[in-house]
Amino acid sequence: MQQDLTKAEYILKVEHLKVVSAQGAELVRDVSLKIKPGEIVGLVGESGSGKSISTMAIAGILPEGISIAQGKIFFNDRDITRISAQERCKINGNKIGIIYQDASQSLNPLIRIGRQIDEVLKIHTDLSPQERRDRVYGTMRAVNLSNVEKLAQRYPHELSGGQRQRVLIAMAIINNPELLIADEPTTALDVSVKSQIIELIKLINFSRKASVLYISHDFSTVKKLCDRVYVLYQGIPVEVGATEQIIKRPQHMYTKLLLESIPSPEKRGQKLLTMKARTRDYRGPAVNCLFAERCPKVFERCRQELPDMFKIDKGHQAACFLFDK
């Protein structure tokens, strides 16, 4: 997983992305990330960390008033930061598939399931209606939906949460995208359905060779799914590494805080947190380490400068002055 800048071998490369609101609040401060073909990369952070906004910027679907202030986004070595809506339309739903968080709000309640999935094909391919129908049914089966002919005739409200999420995944993968963006696809689901969806994403990654950008606040699913993880705090990645490095040997204090927040058998009935409670997010320009006021290992330099990424191990970096050697 060594980062190699000389070769253009990344399916997605984000460089110093900065996203601001109309009022000037910095929602994403400085995000750089890379995804290799076939890799599953996790983007972990709490609400307000900018993980969803980052992915919206990548997909070109930022809400009105929020714009990219700086940085570049390369998809297959092509800069897609400021492409036209028509160009964007050729990529989204075709080369980039997106699975949204809330399945019940992402489907049109008035249109039958089959037609909604078919719409993606209608826009991006010139297949005949018969071919399209076969492919819709085929994809629905591929996401483990059963009884697909009947199901295609149903409306979204007639489906369970897990089924709706599968329909969304079917829509995202029907054109065999090179990159699949999954924005917290399991948050609203039950444990058993959750683990099925994780398995399904793994399968899609394997069988269709799609790279996956998986956004979550939940380390338990990230652990099962991702090859590499970026931990985001207030719009800046604070730690990057292989999943095992991040989970077994976390270095940045914020990653440690996130991991200690998860109840585990060893800590049963004990206090979980050792660090300071979360304060209101600061949205101005970052001049010092943003975690400084909560960090138990804070020292003078943290309050004066913004740390860069420092190397810890092969592929493992953390934005903390403790590792500046």
């Binding site: 058993s192 359905v193 959750k194 109840p263 947190l273 409670a277 979360r278």
Partner: protein, 261 residues
């Protein structure tokens, strides 16, 4: 009242349904029985649709069962109205809900909402009520200046603390927490869990903790009941059930959550 080991809650053969027609009766809870000991924290786990919230609503009296009995501290309560409940139990049943943003009146200050449960009960003077509200606010880890703020000025975690305060201010015997941490971020969730553990030591209450997150239930609860399709399929000590589940459904649930390994 009587002995220490009294059961705070006994539910016997409860049937509940939301069907309006008797001809097409579909039961949400079917022949459910449950015993909860005084002072214990019982975790209720199960998938969505298994009837967790319906059970909570039955105990609090928001809905009435079709048949079956609920005893709270030895007294039959399933047919009491909410008003009768307040009259009969000074220290009754209180509830904390899943979504903190939906649990508060946006036009009332936090302090006012903390005082309301005591004002309804009319056994304290106004100054006593305010003093108690301020004390409770402090107990849930919020500073005094939150007293005059409005709900929209607080974060989800802070509101959930206030919700706990509102429930505990009347010193209930039984707290029903319906997925109180599911909508919170991990670190905020950890804070609220820490707070619940803390409050259980300070205020002495039994707790029915409903959750779909097995890790949280294992962390917090003494005993656990597994609900599947309206019936309890397994109940017992948390450690025993998690390490050695007897029921097939429980086994599946625990392996899916990755908690078995």
């Amino acid at each position: 009242m009587t002995g220490e080991l009294q059961n705070i809650l006994e539910i016997n053969n409860i049937y509940a349904s939301y069907s309006t027609s008797l001809r097409k009766l579909e039961f949400v809870l079917e022949d459910l029985s449950l015993v909860m000991k005084s002072g214990e924290c019982l975790g209720m786990i199960g998938e969505s649709g298994s009837g967790k919230t319906t059970l909570a609503n039955l105990i609090t009296g928001f809905i009435k069962p079709i048949s079956g009995k609920i005893h709270f501290r030895g007294q039959e309560i399933q047919n009491l109205s909410l008003r009768q409940r307040i009259k009969q139990f000074n220290r009754g049943i209180q509830m904390v809900f899943q979504d903190p943003y939906d649990s508060f009146n946006p036009k009332m200050t936090i302090g006012k909402q903390l005082m309301e449960p005591l004002e309804i009960r009319k056994f304290l003077s106004n100054s006593e009520i305010e003093a108690k509200a301020r004390y409770t606010l402090e107990q849930v880890g919020l500073s005094a200046d939150y007293f005059s703020r409005y709900p929209h000025q607080l974060s989800g975690g802070q509101l959930q603390r206030v919700a706990l305060g509102c429930a505990l201010i009347v010193e209930p015997c039984l707290l029903i927490a319906d997925e109180p941490v599911s909508s919170l971020d991990v670190s905020v969730q950890a804070q609220v869990l820490d707070l619940i553990i803390d409050l259980r030591k300070k205020f002495d209450f039994s707790c029915l903790f409903i959750s779909h997150d097995l890790a949280v239930v294992y962390h917090l609860c003494d005993t656990v009941a597994v609900l599947n399709q309206g019936s309890i399929v397994e109940q017992g000590n948390v450690e025993e059930v998690f390490q050695n589940p007897q029921n097939v459904y429980t086994r599946q649930l625990i392996s899916d959550s990755g908690y078995g390994d």
